[in-house]
């Protein structure tokens, strides 16, 4: 027969499963709430005539399936993976890095102009696309580093969604009618990034008011 001590260990096992993959502040918050709920519920069962062991067993059963709970908590809280993605977005570096990105963009277009010889797009389109991507990149940079306030993470995610989306469209337009071979890997990577950022943007809509969860710029990895 299981004792209250083993059942208490089961509570921690339940919590471990239910809060797996969540960032530590979320896991801690859930742990404290469930522990208090558990203690209240055990007291209530004991007041109704259950022994301590019976009360613990009943309350553990009432907790439900930890795997299902984990799925629901992951929808409502940032996971380690989400936090890593947010940190990557926030880690924009300084002006020198932004200038380096502009240079990368320019090199990318030079490569394409060379690679896609005889492309059907007018040079004006290429120039407009280059300016638009540079503008979106600049937006990502300044949204991630607002002066005197915390960055708006959801807006940052949305800016990245626009950037990746525009890049995908431009790349597709450039490749249509010429060659897909040279762009397929880049296009797939961009599409995946676009979906990843879009998913994060949706999720941040669910958790954005829970500010303690948001890793601040330059915060160490949990």
């Amino acid at each position: 027969m299981s004792t209250p001590a083993t059942q208490a260990r089961n509570l921690y096992k339940w919590l471990e499963i239910a809060t797996a993959e969540l960032i530590p502040p979320s896991g801690e918050r859930i742990r404290l709430e469930i522990e208090a709920h558990f203690a209240d519920s055990v007291e209530s069962h004991q007041a109704n005539g259950c022994s301590e062991a019976e009360a613990h067993a009943a309350v553990l059963a009432e907790l439900g399936d930890p795997i299902e709970a984990a799925k629901r908590f992951r929808r409502r809280h940032l996971t380690e993976k989400d936090a890593k993605q947010v940190r990557q977005m926030l880690n924009v570096g300084g002006i020198a890095r932004l200038l380096a990105w502009y240079a990368m963009d320019a090199l990318f277009y030079i490569y394409f102009l060379y690679f896609l010889k005889g492309h059907h797009l007018p040079l004006g389109f290429i120039a407009a696309a280059l300016i638009m991507l540079a503008a979106l990149q600049t937006s990502c940079f300044f949204v991630a580093r607002p002066k005197g306030s915390k960055p708006d993470i959801r807006l940052l995610a949305l800016t990245h969604v626009f950037y990746d989306g525009c890049f995908v469209v431009i790349l597709t337009l450039m490749a249509v009618g010429t060659s897909w071979a040279g762009v397929s890997v880049g296009l797939i990577a961009l599409c995946l990034n676009f979906i990843r950022n879009l998913r994060l943007w949706f999720k941040l809509g669910q958790v954005e008011t829970i500010w303690p969860e948001m890793p601040s710029r330059g915060a160490p990895a949990p």
């Binding site: 239910a18 709920h37 629901r72 008011t209």
Partner: protein
Amino acid sequence: MNFRGVLPTLILQNLSRGPNHGYRIAQEIKQKSKGVLDFKEGTLYPALHGLEGKGFITSQTRVENGRTRCYYELTEKGKKALAQDKQEWRRVSGAFNLILKEAM
């Protein structure tokens, strides 16, 4: 029947009478529904956190008798959402009753 979809509305209704913590919210819903609506913790807390994420409720941590409790409180946005949910529920349940009556 799966009643999980109505949990957020039930939580908002409970909090419309004042701040409350998770355990008491669950108990009050269970008592008022005469045991029909008994939500497990693994369902209740994600729903509470979801409502907080949407800005319908706010939370405040208090320590009582050595236990860390999170008290939830309805916001103005939450009050509006509750009013809308109630209206929608009356409309849908009215239609549902009409169909069930017809089937009898």
